[in-house]
Symmetry: D2
Subunit: 364 residues, 4 copies
């Protein structure tokens, strides 16, 4: 299976390098009859666009998406949807020692080890620009989910040592960090100013809460919903950990404090708690899905670092250019997109789980 394809029934294939002709995605298995326009997708791309505050790179990345196939008279046709975001900045330039040395924290060294050489312009395929394809496809997935009443609330939970203390959903789009806590956002800004003054960078934690997910999604044993979500989110460049529900904290709880009880109220099944984060035995239980991703600090920093060249010389490297002091805010929509892609695939796969459903479907 192509390692640039994600999903089984609703799939996305991505391609493209940072300074090549463009970034793209091919979405296959999208059902026919979904109203879809470039604007639907553009809204999501705009959430990851740089240059929105002094805490993201000032690079101009227009990132306008074009739909090349799979949509006719405003509706998806069931055939592959090809999405293209041309790279505006393709001019030749002097990449200097970047071309011949390995930036710490980046994939320069490992790409060379695997492939023998690499497209060194702006990180090539390992650039954060690669996530454009994910977000473009995720926008389509999100539109399907919305029609089914499945909605996301994704935000920055922490930046460096600053963690949110309140949960005000309306505040999320009001600050440059997508934090649901204005006070924490203020502190995060102050922390980042210090990082920038030190020519340093920060990481953080993104939390994704998904409501309206029907019980029953996920396919034991290797296709468990949490397993696929983990792959989806860990495949994002800077993510170093994925948690579901209590996550790591579960390891220090007891059965009596971690188990979620059930009660029936007015005929509705309700869990008395949600330590599991909405997934039990790899299958959604109908309650809120809660996932967290830990994002490492931006690798490119404007201070000298010890590294080596392709020809195995020891050097001190200073990565020039303007870089995001933190990529967490821009990665919020990327995490959400990967979760959306995972959920749509699980929804489709689940349709053939019961013989009674198949019988009634084909009696239509």
């Amino acid at each position: 299976m192509s390692k640039s394809v994600f999903g089984n029934l609703f799939t996305v294939t991505t391609w493209g390098e940072s300074h090549g002709k463009g970034i793209g995605a091919v979405v296959d298995g999208c059902p026919a009859g979904l109203p879809l326009s470039a604007e639907d997708i553009q809204k999501y791309l705009d959430r990851r666009r740089p240059g929105q505050s002094r805490y993201t790179t000032a690079r101009k990345e227009g990132d306008q998406v074009e739909i090349l196939s799979g949509v006719f008279e405003g509706m998806t046709t069931g055939t592959p949807i090809s999405l293209l975001v041309p790279n505006l900045d393709q001019r030749s330039r002097d990449y200097g020692n970047i071309a011949y040395s390995y930036r710490p924290g980046h994939a320069d060294y490992t790409f060379d080890q695997k492939y023998g050489f690499r497209d060194y312009r702006g990180g090539g395929r390992s650039s954060g620009r690669e996530t454009i394809g994910r977000v473009a496809a995720g926008a389509i997935a999100s539109k399907i989910l919305k029609e089914l009443g499945i909605v996301f609330c994704t935000y920055t939970k922490s930046i460096g040592p600053v963690t949110i203390e309140t949960m005000d959903v309306d505040e999320i789009p009001n600050n440059p960090f997508y934090m649901p806590d204005a006070q924490a956002a203020k502190k995060a800004g102050e922390y980042l100013e210090k990082c920038m003054a030190n020519h340093d960078s920060a990481g953080g934690i993104i939390e994704c809460r998904i409501n309206g997910v029907p019980a029953g999604l996920g396919d034991p044993v290797f296709g468990k919903l949490d397993a696929v979500l983990a792959q989806a989110v860990m495949s994002i460049g800077a993510v170093k950990a994925v948690e579901i529900g209590e996550g790591i904290r579960a390891a220090s709880l007891n059965g009596s404090t971690d188990n979620d009880g059930f009660i029936v109220k007015n005929g509705e099944v309700i869990k008395t708690s949600n330590h599991a984060g909405g997934i039990m035995g790899g299958i959604s239980d109908g309650s809120e899905i809660v996932l967290r991703a830990a994002v490492k600090p931006t690798s490119s920093i404007s201070q000298p670092q010890q590294t080596i060249t392709q020809t195995k010389e020891n050097i001190s490297l200073l990565v020039k250019g303007r870089h995001d002091p933190v990529i967490v805010p821009r990665a919020v929509v990327v995490v959400e997109s990967m979760c959306a892609l995972t959920l749509v695939d699980a929804l489709f796969s689940n349709m053939s789980a019961r013989m009674e459903h198949i019988r009634s479907f084909y009696k239509k």
Copy 2:
């Protein structure tokens, strides 16, 4: 793709329920010419066998593996290897209210929601016995890796609040918790005694360190080595979080403290640190791979819990029988097995990454 299959080139398909006729695995894509006997596999199965200490269930699970196909005259033939572990305990019994109510923390409710009914005997497919198939297949993967000089060191890092403080590899098999710290193991035992007295259970953290992995394994972007490892490990029943390298801690570091530098010493490339845990941009960098899995506390506890029946009645349920107060020690070999399966698949996939390698292979 079958959700009971893991891998792309070296694959395992697992099947079986807790109280059915047996548990099995079919390994396909195993290269011809690997010496293989049932004993090679039995050694790994014995590491997850219960009844080894007072901290694991006293149930007798003989778990003897039989090789049904794919091996001829002591060597693998390149055809599918079918592995069978018969269930010894299949007698009919009274499952009482377990059959009609949902145990908190278990997958009873979600299986019913997905499939409409379930095999309630001992948890059916969602039982921990399902991991027998993973370990049996992982044993074959581990044998391949060993031939290539890739070796594992997997152990319990913490149980409940007790975390290891020293790292003594020789100590790992000496205590019932597979902890590399005798002192911590003693404390963990004391902690578990308290849990058991309280009719409660505990969780913990498993750490897996892999040495000898060549640089270059992993396939961007969705087949990144860390992404596939995350899926592999999160697909294990009780795992709620997966970390690579610094993991969650990376979120609070700075670029200057998280980036790993490079130096050349005596012609060898060495990283000045390994915060990345051996994987950069989704590709192994040749240094030690470090992964952690957070395991939740055992769900079955001998105290009354609030839950509901299939017919939506509120009840208080007390799960009878002897259960592991902690499953972490027995899950150590399961985590290792899933990592081994992932690595062998990545090794095979990597063989066609460069045109020069393909040319030289087919000139043979």
Copy 3:
């Protein structure tokens, strides 16, 4: 993806060698709630059993199937169904020069070329016994199809030069060749007597007609229904050609004679002909699906043949033992099984083809 797995949503993994411990199949993605017993499967296996006439090998192959998992209280549970057919005849014997030389028409040479050595006992994995796993899985697929009103009529169209001239469905089980023409069956018997007298073997053509298939199955472009059927059927050992509808004859027709017109009669859409064999643009059109498979003559013949040994000596080889003078009749149910597996997979995949269907499914 494992090359021993077929299908995407409804999948089968097969394993086993001719003289190993058994032959098996793991069916995954079977919906929960299908009534299933070993007898349901045994009926299909009995159709491929040898020893039913003087035109099939007299070898005793009991071929009793056992269900090891995935069925509880007579119903499928949605989890993997493991099927086992133990090999009765596993005793050691002298394989003589078969072990060291390459039988013409068999896969001995190519297995050695690929894997370096092979299980030479009875053809190992390349034996016709491998199809037991396909038929066992196909029986489950057929049971699902039957519930949806999809039925097969599969028969022998020709043996050697003898082709059917009439189409009497009731005659099919009445003769040892599964031919729908008693007269042709008689001639086929006479032809085979001559072959046997000459120590020679024959081939033939199998035709599979499928009725009740809803329009809309098949996924362009590489997952076209005819493309997947072709893979399914060509993967059967001795098949050398696959035709859909007019098949090869279409090449010599004209557009005016090959195109199928449409008419509406009493509100029903009917095709004025079915040269297409029920599939247009890779999607079923609701009319009868017609597929043919050409089966080569049995490779094992009791006359000396020119061949070589593993050590590259030229020899004359006479393959001893009793062999089917023709395998076509026993392959009828194998072709049907592969078509059944393909159709169930296509049915499930098709459930998410339209947004309107997804909306109504998840409103339940």
Copy 4:
């Protein structure tokens, strides 16, 4: 798995409709270090371009390919190669009754049945233009094969009733039908003149011969080389049958006349005949691979045909416009491309078939 993706290790994803913005393909798993330019691909696209003779449509289809990613400094980088062929003719026009009625022989009806509506412009996704993506990807596969000494000889074996009688490889590019027999080509032209005068169309047979294929390619049992070739070729629009070696004729041979013997001459293993067409037991045997595809006559003919509208009215439809009276010559390179894609994938998969090869690979 996406149904618009073909292959497992070397994969192609295609997208695009006849009158949309373009046709494209994403090739993933192409090894790094292959020299590649747009010209390499253009040569193959030119072989399927229309307007080359009076026997192909006069429509102008420039079909210039652009490489959007995956190539750096003239070499493949190992990352996805995105190929784009813009559609020149996208202007809006009056599609008349084509939009609302079902052309006989086309996929109009089945697409509507599956998806509920369709892009009716020029056949949309089911247009022959879809094969542009296959040929563009096939050109890359062919370049890899050529480096390994694997070469194709693909040609038209028959058009309507006219079959080649001689085999003159040099003649193939000399006539508009890619026939290796000048005399037959002349007769085919005469036959087509008659078809055109009758407002009718013709079909034919394409034969593909592949030399230099090493023994050992193909993965039993469902990934057999002939099975995958059959899927690959049957997935091409108008193909209705696929044959390997003797193909259908094998059904009427005897074991003694169909089996290929082996001899050793000067240390080389040679088959005494090649009835098997280079594949035994689903694995290549090192001799010439021979495959044939039967192509049905062009569906669009300029004579009235009986059909229905979307609203189920009976009508007589006359498809206007200029259409190829035969598509066989243009499909020659499409068949070759699908075979090339299949072979590269099989070559890569085969690299991990033996433990000895893995050991020596990773000792490098």
